[in-house]
Symmetry: C2
């Protein structure tokens, strides 16, 4: 398999990324205006997103939200990690997380967190993530 390259997301990736993310969580986005999604995403400059590209096609996506805490620390939150089903098991996810951790380092994060299903903990262990807390959710 040729090398995957990672780069910052571009607006022209949106159709591919929307489809990719359906493999993570299905939503009905038929009525959404992608221009508005893009503007909101870019204007809230705390989010940094990258795509993994194989043969000119985005096949992986992930983002890291950068939080400036009140006491001056910077924290990173990894969100929305997905690798296209047919490319899983090839270590692409590990490289994707590595790239997001690098972004976190470049933004001076002291800590990066993520929420996941317990079955994925071994996957995230590969990048040095460990678990000692639980994640709680409320849908509005």
């Amino acid at each position: 398999m040729e090398e995957i390259t990672f780069r910052a997301i571009r607006k022209s990736d949106l159709d591919d990324i929307f489809l990719l993310l359906q493999q993570l969580t299905e939503i009905n986005y038929s009525s959404r205006n992608k221009n508005i999604c893009w503007d909101l995403f870019k204007n809230n400059n705390s989010s940094n997103a990258i795509v993994g590209v194989y043969k000119d096609k985005p096949i992986a996506y992930g983002s890291i939200v950068i939080e400036n805490k009140i006491r001056g620390e910077v924290a990173g939150h990894i969100e929305d990690i997905v690798v296209a089903k047919k490319y899983r098991g090839k270590n692409i996810g590990v490289k994707l997380i590595e790239k997001l951790v690098d972004i976190g380092k470049s933004k001076n994060c002291y800590r990066i967190t993520l929420l996941c299903n317990e079955s994925l903990s071994r996957f995230y262990n590969k990048n040095g993530f460990t678990s000692n807390n639980i994640a709680m959710k409320k849908y509005l």
Copy 2:
């Protein structure tokens, strides 16, 4: 006990908030410039923070980070929840979370998440939070 009032954080709260947050996580902030902390916090406008005030003194603090996702959803992340030790057990934390959830609603969040120690899950259940995932961390 008189009523606690909740309001947005002000720069003049910083000394009190820094002390309060030491009860959550101790850090050495003696060399930090609070003006810079404040500017970074306010400039990254994804963070919304409130204080609970009792007799003109901040005794509780919490924040919610607003994330614009690439597909247009808005997600909230509750961070840094603290109630001063001598005021715990009086339901102030529940009201604080309620106010942060209200902010999340006003920002059109479809979901709010938080990370906590398992021992606190019953506390967050009171505000309708449930757990089905784990939190993973990596310190940089």
